[in-house]
């Protein structure tokens, strides 16, 4: 005992010398020290994730918005051009056109055909990608800071001067159809496709972002060129940069490359989906006879990205199924029952209200038991909404995740661009943690009652229909579909 005590004294001295912030715990209950989990949490430091004034913004005369964030830690630069429209602005019969257009933009621009463009990017060691989602499209390129001007020229070529060659479009259409056939091998992808269809038949949200074989078969170079002409106009665009650059030099180059760019108004963002979706409970079984594990999704309409109480909703969802190990769903279905490896819930926020989805997977014979647990937790989140402790934990988690999610300057800029796309306040990242802490248990109870509707959720299962149907017949009208069946 003497030896331990002496050593501890030595340690305490060492800690004190080091100018510690947290004093070693006093002796208590016969223990040498008190572990941190028994002490009250230290107050959050809430240090800013971006230094004040570090982000520069301006608009060019043609309406193009520019967002810059210098970061000289590494000799690298990320550049992007986004437009504030995406798949939601495409009619359902051309589903996948924005994604198709983006992929075609990567295959030839300016003076370079597909192979020359790939070589020009890759000989710099750079990465180029055009992405699309429901509400935006973006061209991104990143590489070494010393290649800044060449990267900028490639960005401008791809964003403003894609070639849309007919032969490339043909090749891409074939590839896309093959990808769609292959994607059907993945049960999670199938669950997503058929959940969308169950909620939003006839609306663009009812088809996968990347389209279906029937819609992709209609895509060609002319349609891509036309979409590009309408979406990629300066008043609808934002250029962003993060990394190791001189802002004055960069702005001068951006002015040369994008200052003379002109164009009209962007197309409308697309109509909102009908609500409620679905109007009544239904069960859809996507038949995959060989699977050992069933995919399970419970879904109904949710909220839009600009929903006024979106922070209240995200805290509610964190308690329900959005926070992994801490969530009620994980505790019930994984930790206590051992019925799954992963379960979660999610409000998919788009410009118009997207779906609220609870999803998981389990061994086929246990499917009904899991559905019952999910339905019970959805009922309970309204009947027994988050208590003070649950809400406090969710608030701390949200504030902590927020800082962790903005660790790199690329992540900060991506967040600022996303706020811009949805017309959300520029200072959202400065005010986020305060807004999170202002939420009360009354707030989360209110949104739980307003937004969670297990009684009319669609239930979508992927797995062997023969084994699944008897388990769910009493839950509502059951429809069994072939995973590759053409859609109506």
């Amino acid at each position: 005992m003497r030896r331990i005590a002496a050593a501890l004294l030595g340690l305490a001295a060492a800690v004190a010398c080091a100018g510690h912030r947290s004093a070693p715990a006093p002796e208590a209950e016969g223990r040498a020290w008190i572990p941190a989990w028994e002490l009250p949490p230290p107050p959050p430091r809430d240090a800013p994730v971006v230094a004040g004034g570090a982000v520069q913004r301006l608009d060019l005369d043609n309406g193009l918005r520019i967002i810059l964030l210098e970061d000289h830690r590494l000799p690298r630069i990320s550049l992007a051009l986004h437009v504030r429209r995406g798949e939601a602005s495409v009619p359902p019969e051309l589903a996948g056109l924005a994604a198709f257009t983006g992929s075609l933009m990567e295959r030839g621009a300016g003076a370079r055909d597909a192979q020359a463009l790939a070589w020009a990017v890759e000989e710099l060691g750079a990465s180029l990608a055009v992405y699309s989602d429901w509400d935006a499209m973006g061209v991104g390129i990143s590489g070494l800071a010393r290649d800044r001007d060449r990267l900028l020229e490639l960005l401008a070529d791809v964003a403003l001067r894609p070639r849309f060659e007919a032969a490339e479009a043909e090749r891409l259409r074939g590839e896309t159809l093959a990808w769609l056939a292959r994607a059907a091998d993945d049960p999670a992808t199938l669950a997503g496709w058929w959940t969308a269809r169950a909620l939003y038949p006839g609306h663009r949200y009812g088809e996968p972002q990347g389209g279906v074989p029937a819609s992709v078969a209609r895509l060609d170079a002319d349609r891509a060129r036309s979409l590009h002409r309408r979406f990629f106009v300066p008043g609808n665009a934002v250029v962003s940069a993060s990394g190791d650059f001189d802002p004055e030099e960069l702005l001068a180059r951006l002015g040369e490359l994008f200052g003379a760019w002109s164009g009209g108004d962007p197309p409308p963002p697309g109509p909102p989906p009908p609500a409620p979706a679905p109007a009544a409970r239904k069960v859809l079984i996507v038949d995959r006879p060989e699977l050992e594990q069933s995919r399970i999704a419970l879904a109904h309409d949710g909220i839009e990205r600009s929903y006024p109480e979106r922070i209240e909703v995200s805290l509610l969802n964190s308690v329900l199924g959005g926070s992994g190990f801490s969530s009620r769903l994980t505790r019930r279905v994984r930790s206590e029952a051992g019925l799954t490896y992963g379960v979660g819930s999610h409000f998919d926020q788009r410009r118009s209200p997207g779906p609220f989805v609870v999803s998981t997977f389990t061994r086929v014979p246990e499917t009904r038991r899991v559905i019952d647990l999910l339905l019970a937790e959805l009922e309970r989140i309204a009947a027994e909404p988050p208590d003070a402790q649950e809400l406090r934990d969710a608030q701390t988690l949200a504030a902590g995740h927020f800082a962790l999610g903005l660790e790199t300057s690329d992540a900060v800029v991506a967040t600022l661009v996303e706020l811009d796309v949805y017309d959300l306040p520029e200072d959202s990242i400065d005010t986020y943690r305060a807004r999170v802490r202002a939420v009360t248990t009354e707030d989360t109870a209110r949104v739980a009652r307003a937004l969670v509707h297990p009684q009319r959720a669609a239930i979508v299962l992927v797995g062997p229909a023969d084994a699944l149907r008897p388990q769910v017949q009493d839950l509502g009208p059951v429809e069994v579909v072939d995973p590759l069946a053409p859609r109506p």
Binding site: A7, P41, E122
Partner: protein
């Protein structure tokens, strides 16, 4: 309950970090790492970076699936059990407590090591250190928690391996390429073993491998290193070292002839995989093999893309990469075959590109491009605290030191076209390869 008596209290023994100067062009933060070795052998790596108010904590335990003996999958199953409670912490509380302080926490297991990590707001670091030490000192494995977690792992196995064509392919490929070495079984284990693993086996595994002299801890981010060293010393210093850790003795015998396996699975797009035996991590030929893989599949200007994806339109993607284990290596090639294409044709095209690497020198332009792509991936990607913590811990375990980026880049830049051809001729030969295809079962009425 396994516990280690508290009589080997540590005095922190401070060693200076690898002090080799970084090359003039790169400021390599990893070189500021402070290395501390506790008296019980635990290695602690601390690296302060105050840019953002977050900290990454990683505990690397030098045990993986290769160390299993009776039950395959035990290292991974055990990793799950580390979240199921200890003397002073209830099951699942570890993760909940860290999340309630705003952090993320999880773990993963590989063939060679097991990593527990937490990324947290700066003020939560003391909690993470104390919780980690608590479970290493006082883990409590009960029949009840093992039973529920076993079911969770079996669901994970269905998800990753049994219901997924790529998982089927990888599992078949490793057990084909390795005959003797424990790399032949999957990290998640065979289903029968996961179903049968016992509480006593878990406890024995814990006693054998979770000793301080088998652990490296890395902490990177916004924290005070002296505080953290003191706290880790206080929390972990009383653990008893193992002295020596038993390891499986198998060495993979030289492969002398191609091996093949076909897996039937109801799918649209077949999967094709091949693997050639290659050196273990740390071998000087690794750089040339990396460059070879980059020439084959580094982007849309690469050979496999131009041949299989764009040219013949047989595959949707094709990749080559060097898979380095601590005591063996595989050079792998994998292709996603188009539903309307032929898996035999895909194989023919991949092997033609492998032959080309052996038969002719890559052009200087192609070589420059490949080296530049690897270089930009090394220095041109955003780096998080977690990335840095992983790098310094991996290097410490693998090389016994932190390799400066400048050294890594110098080795890469030194690779010549002749080197690429030489490693292709040495390793990428038919006698050393194993081939797996996952294809739909023959339909009724088909012959064969």
């Amino acid at each position: 309950m396994p516990a280690r008596p508290a009589h080997a209290l540590a005095c922190a023994l401070l060693l200076l970090a690898a002090s080799a100067a970084a090359g003039p062009a790169i400021d390599d933060p990893a070189l500021r790492t402070r290395v501390t070795e506790l008296e019980n052998g635990l290695q602690l790596l601390t690296l302060e970076d105050r840019t953002t108010p977050v900290v990454s904590f990683q505990m690397w335990v030098k045990v993986g699936s290769k160390d299993e003996s009776r039950f395959t999958g035990l290292a991974h199953l055990f990793e799950h059990m580390m979240f199921k409670g200890s003397a002073h912490i209830a099951p699942e509380e570890h993760a909940r407590l860290v999340q309630a302080r705003g952090g993320v926490v999880n773990a993963y297991t590989t063939n060679d090591y097991t990593v527990y990590f937490a990324n947290v707001p700066a003020e939560a670091l003391p909690l993470v250190i104390d919780l980690e030490a608590e479970r290493v000192a006082h883990l409590d494995i009960s029949e009840q928690t093992l039973e529920s977690e076993r079911q969770v792992v079996l669901e994970e196995r269905r998800l990753r391996s049994e219901d997924r064509p790529n998982g089927r392919a990888r599992e078949a490929l490793f057990s084909l390429a390795f005959r003797a070495h424990p790399y032949r079984w999957p990290v998640i284990g065979w289903r029968s073993d996961v179903a049968a693993a016992t509480v006593e086996a878990c406890r024995e595994f814990f006693r054998t491998f979770y000793a301080p002299d088998n652990i490296v801890i890395a902490i990177v981010g916004d924290f005070d290193a002296a505080d953290a060293i003191a706290r880790v010393t206080r929390a972990f210093g009383s653990l008893e070292p193992a002295g020596s850790i038993p390891r499986n003795p198998q060495v993979e015998p030289e492969q002398a002839g191609e091996r093949r396996e076909t897996v039937h699975f109801d799918l649209q797009g077949p999967v094709w995989n091949a693997a050639w035996h290659a050196p273990a991590v740390g071998h000087p030929d690794a750089d040339a093999l990396d460059v070879a893989a980059q020439i084959l599949s580094g982007g849309r200007s690469s050979r496999l893309y131009e041949s299989l994806v764009r040219g013949a339109e047989q595959a949707l993607s094709a990749h080559a990469f060097l898979y380095e284990f601590q005591s063996a290596g595989l050079f792998m090639a994998a292709a996603s075959v188009r539903p309307d294409a032929s898996v035999e044709r895909v194989e023919e095209l991949v092997f033609a590109e492998i032959d080309r690497l052996r038969d002719s020198l890559a052009s200087e332009a192609e070589l420059d491009k490949a080296r530049r792509q690897i270089e930009v991936a090394l220095v041109g990607s955003p780096v998080t605290n977690s990335d840095l913590a992983g790098r310094i811990a991996f290097d410490t375990i693998t090389f016994g030191r932190i390799r400066p980026l400048s050294e890594v880049l110098d080795a890469l830049r030194a690779v010549t076209a002749a080197d690429v051809q030489r490693v292709a001729r040495t390793y990428l030969v038919p006698e050393r390869r194993s081939v797996v295809q996952v294809v739909p079962p023959p339909r009724e009425g088909d012959s064969g």
